[in-house]
Amino acid sequence: MADPPLAEPLEPLVAFGRGLRARGLPVGTGRILTFVRAVAALGLTDRLSLYWAGRVSMIGRKEDLAAYDLAFEDWYRSLRSTEDLKIELDLPSLARQGVEWEDQPEDLDVRAGKTAAEWHGLTEEDEAPEPGDEAALRIVASAFEVLRSKSFADLSEEERDEVGRLIRALAIALPEQRMRRTRPSAKGARFDIRRTLRRSLRTRGEPFDRAWRDRRVRGRPLVLILDVSGSMSPYARALVQFGYAAMAAGRRVEVFCFGTRLTRVTRILRTKDPDRALQEIGRTVADWEGGTRIGESLKSLLDGWSQRAALRGAVVVLCSDGLERGDPDLLRLQMARLGRLAHKVVWVNPLKGSPRYEPLARGMAAALPSVDVFLSGHNLESLSELSRTLAG
């Protein structure tokens, strides 16, 4: 990794980087090297310099700052006690070397390389069809008709696994959104002077063959907001699997869970298989069994500005029984905001599956004016209904 003569004094710095990684922060070797070079460039090893050098070079997200602060505190204290602080050597020589642009050892982050490769060549000639275009709505096995209509709350353990598999087989179609970016197209709306000219060179500058471009279309993002309070958990579980299926189909998906507070769980879902993700969510979402404060949870979603951006133009599916413990007026207001921001708001209420159900709960009544589609989602059949609705 580092040059042999420097290895020893570098050790505490590298150890700090590794410590961050051990705490789950995405700190690769490249970042640790940057940190070492940063300390060298500053030429100082006082607390403040070390703090900022590390933070600037090894952290890339605001969310990680709190964890960084804690880790730094621990590391710095350990540094003191062991009298390890002999970093004040002539590191500046290191700052000068290897300052090229192409020096990131990506050994730890193979994924990044792959993504960069996927990205390559997308700027111009991207006529390849998008994967999942032929996404049709279908349910794989007709042998499981019974399962289709059984409420999620009544499933046995094995049935639940089976249903989970079926949900993942649901091909989820989402409405499309026309983008500003254009792509070559046989019968587009815009004249492509660039390609026309290039083709005309083959015909001695005579533009016989005209080329066109058209705007790209992309599936709208899907945002799931799931009530995970006590009675709702079997249904939330099914919808998490639904979200997982949408993600696997290459859709942009955001998932939030709430009981009394709102938690973003998209990241968990992206990294794990659905069953392990559910366990993880159970651990992360502290108030799995608490009461329901839909209005407040929505408000915190709509107030977080980066999260609000995720809602813009999205198809939002909110799953809750609508038994609001908070203020119904707050809920009404927040639902109206949500309605203005989103492309479509779908409310999934498993209680609706009961034939005698009427949306009399005050929360539900307050929310309904801003809801585009009201569905039950209590069994597989109604989930495929949800999937059909999303496409429309």
């Binding site: 500053l42 900022w52 002077i193 500058g205 107030d303």
Partner: protein, 295 residues
């Protein structure tokens, strides 16, 4: 490596220099800028709207005596708008004007420098360390563009098939800003140093107002900064940024105020709170936000 500038041997010195250009950076930001210059790495700045992300690049360009090249990102931006483009209309005219028998010989001329339209990224590559490149609001561009930018930032070279390779002798200083409407890709983040800019503390904000709007009196500047701090603690959908604080102070000074009162605040609220529902929330609490005072 030319970006390393001996004028900023230390972080403190850079901080002082930024201050003399009316940009009051805290220690963290100054360290980030210092490291970006000395390690030749792009600096990625995130933070809420109006905390002065874009301003960093502008001041830095002034400070270093370099040219500021700005690439404003937007949805749908692509290489032809960011890097270079051929002037097709002009080429077409030239083709028309050519003598048909000599067309083959002239084709090369069609791709000469006079037909090349330079866009910000190409300009930055050509200018090299003579420039500060500002890539503003990268989160607005789509991720294909981010990947493309990543390539440019790692090479600072571009191959134009008809002309040849253009390489920066030494890379320009690069500042990338994002409003976090979406998460930027890890690969890009790894390439950059990262700094999150927070709202400044009260005293610093007063200093910023005084530095940016010198005609605003000390008392008014403090009143405004205090009121804005209270506004930020209210439950607003859009928190006022430093830019709003300065705007507000300017507006009040323009009206001839030397202190802030609830009445004046109501009249000028639009300079600082720019969301209808937020205004409805604030107006009944103005006395509490501003503090009772005869204006």
């Amino acid at each position: 490596m030319g970006a390393m500038d001996d004028r900023f041997a230390t972080v403190d010195e850079l901080q002082a220099q930024l201050g003399s250009h009316a940009y009051l950076a805290d220690r963290g930001l100054a360290t980030a800028v210092h490291l970006a210059l000395s390690l030749d790495k792009p600096l990625l700045l995130e933070g809420e709207a109006g905390v002065g992300k874009t301003e960093v690049a502008k001041v830095l360009a002034g400070l270093l005596g370099r040219r500021l090249i700005r690439l404003q990102c937007y949805e749908g931006i692509d290489a032809s708008q960011a890097l270079y483009e051929w002037n097709y209309a002009r080429q077409l005219l030239a083709v028309r004007a050519m003598d048909a028998s000599e067309a083959e010989r002239h084709v090369d001329d069609l791709f000469g420098p006079e037909f090349l339209v330079e866009r910000p990224l190409l300009a930055a590559i050509r200018a090299g360390s003579g420039a500060v490149l500002l890539v503003d609001e990268l989160d607005r561009a789509d991720d294909e563009f981010e990947a493309f930018l990543l390539e440019i930032l790692s090479e600072f070279a571009v191959t134009i098939p008809e002309v040849g390779q253009v390489v920066a002798e030494s890379p320009p200083a690069v500042v990338v800003t994002s409003n976090r409407t979406r998460e930027l890709h890890d690969a890009l983040k790894r390439r950059c140093l990262y700094h999150w800019i927070d709202h400044p503390g009260l005293d610093r904000e007063v200093e910023i107002v005084r530095a940016r709007a010198p005609h605003v009196g000390q008392a008014l500047a403090r009143d405004v900064a205090e009121a804005v701090a209270k506004l930020r603690s209210l439950d607003l959908a859009k928190l006022p940024g430093v830019a709003e604080t300065i705007d507000w102070a300017n507006a009040l000074a323009f009206l001839g105020a030397d202190r802030l009162s609830p009445g004046l605040a109501r009249d000028t609220l639009g300079a600082v709170v720019k969301d209808h529902e937020d205004q409805e929330l604030v107006v009944p609490r103005l006395a509490e936000v501003v503090g009772e005072r005869d204006g």
